[in-house]
């Protein structure tokens, strides 16, 4: 390695990254066609968008494809985001989750999965490690709050959200009546809301 570090030092100090901006502010700038704001938005939400989709689809190659669709959709429809209906973050994840579930339910999914298996092999280091690490840390508030639900509530909510099952499939899987599953999804989410302290500005 060459000896050029010391001379450039003052330069590096001025290159310290700016503090992260608010997702809502960035989204409003994106709605005006600001590509730089989109880059920052990407860095803030992409790991969770990709992680969520990958969790639902269980296939890194497909997850990458759907994540790209979702992030481009965020760019395309940014002007339609309405802060009165919820936060910018939840708007983004609503799009991501819906797209992932649509993909799970499409018949095309299994065929694609086989086609992409080769490409998937190359991505595993990043993905697997990130999962392994986050799995071991177990420090997320969400996990803690999910542990607080009754078993049926937790199963109903997580089978639907993380695995993309419909409530009918969840009822089958759990051997529980349909109305019970609907109710457990609702009261499970309410309990989770209270544990996480979720608030929506009126």
């Amino acid at each position: 390695m060459t000896e050029h570090g010391a001379a450039r030092r003052p330069d590096h100090l001025s290159a310290v990254p700016a503090p992260p901006a608010d997702v809502g502010d960035l989204l409003r700038a994106v709605a005006r066609g600001d590509e730089q704001a989109f880059t920052r938005l990407y860095d803030l939400v992409a790991p969770r968008v990709y992680g969520l989709i990958r969790r639902v689809l269980r296939d890194p190659a497909q997850a990458e494809e759907v994540a790209q669709e979702v992030l481009v959709e965020v760019w395309r429809t940014a002007a339609r985001f309405d802060a009165a209906k919820g936060s910018a973050t939840s708007w983004v994840f609503t799009i991501a989750h819906r797209r992932a579930v649509d993909r799970v339910r499409s018949e095309q999914a299994s065929a694609d999965r086989t086609m992409k298996a080769g490409a998937a092999a190359m991505d595993t280091p990043y993905d697997e490690v990130a999962d392994e690490v986050s799995g071991r840390l177990e420090r997320q508030q969400v996990r803690h709050c999910l542990d607080d639900l009754t078993e049926l509530q937790r199963e109903a909510v997580t089978l639907a959200y993380y695995k993309g099952h419909s409530y009918r499939e969840v009822a089958d899987l759990l051997g529980a009546p349909l109305p019970t599953v609907k109710t457990r999804m609702r009261d499970g989410l309410i309990r989770l809301r209270d544990c996480l302290g979720v608030e929506v500005p009126a």
């Binding site: 290159a15 310290v16 969790r55 002007a79 983004v92 092999a121 697997e128 993380y162 409530y167 609907k182």
Partner: protein
């Protein structure tokens, strides 16, 4: 379905666990029910928080692909037809006209080139990909071995500017896996560099790719060090760390 039946779907609706008919009935129901909209907003926010625990680093090329795609994607105007997005749209037709001859020329070149030459390039690329895949598989095996070692110790700390760096070190493998996840990646001509800290000396422990904010890096020989330091350097790294570091994770 009665109104109560429809309303009880709010949880399943938020979790995308309903079919298309149920989704339509629910959305119709909500349109005429203010208190439902409040509950819907809160539960949707709650479901969104469940994404927090799914954090996973996307392959680095996704960023370039998405940035390329948005440059080709026209934005929708606001639902009420307000100004901001329509200004962007109005710039497009002229730009597109100017680009047309270039696109036409590119199309000609492509159609002329779909012969043996293109195939050879493609074959070469496939060979290269399998070589990369083999190297990646080997690296992955090493990473998995370190992470699943019985003596693995996990430490993590904040990155200045946002994000987390996590170090999983195993003394029995005499190596550590460093998972870098900075919110703001360095500029294209800069890179994060890792350093093994012993007392007051800092030894080079590898440079991440230029412009990369997230990466998984194996650092041989890290266990036994006092700390792992991360600095921001010119692309390719420096001989001496630029202080202060953007992150420092104590390993003791």
């Amino acid at each position: 379905m009665t109104s109560d039946d429809v309303h009880s779907l709010v949880g399943a609706y938020v979790l995308d666990a309903v079919d298309d008919d149920e989704r339509a009935s629910f959305e119709q129901h909500v349109a005429g029910c203010a208190s439902c909209r409040a509950e819907l907003a809160e539960l949707r926010e709650t479901a969104g928080r469940m994404a927090d625990s799914t954090w996973s680093i996307p392959p680095p090329r996704l960023r370039a692909e998405v940035m390329g795609a948005i440059r080709r994607t026209r934005q929708l105007p606001p639902a009420d037809g307000g100004r901001p997005a329509s200004e962007v749209v109005s710039l497009r037709p002229a730009a597109r006209l100017r680009r047309w001859p270039v696109a036409a020329a590119a199309a000609l070149i492509l159609s002329a080139g779909t012969g043996a030459g293109v195939w050879a390039v493609q074959e070469h690329r496939l060979e290269e990909q399998s070589r990369i895949a083999a190297a990646a598989a080997q690296r992955e095996a090493r990473v998995q071995a370190i992470l699943s070692a019985s003596d693995v110790v996990m430490k993590s700390g904040a990155v200045r500017g946002g994000g987390t760096v996590t170090v999983a070190s195993s003394a029995s493998h005499s190596a550590a896996v460093v998972l870098m996840g900075a919110v703001t990646p360095p500029a294209k001509d800069r890179a994060f560099q890792l350093w093994a800290v012993h007392d007051t000396t800092m030894t080079d422990a590898g440079v991440l790719a230029a412009g990369a904010g997230s990466a998984v890096q194996i650092v041989e020989g890290l266990p036994g060090s006092d700390a792992l330091g991360v600095t921001l350097e010119p692309a390719g790294g420096s001989a001496e760390p630029s202080l202060p570091p953007v992150a420092e994770i104590s390993l003791t």
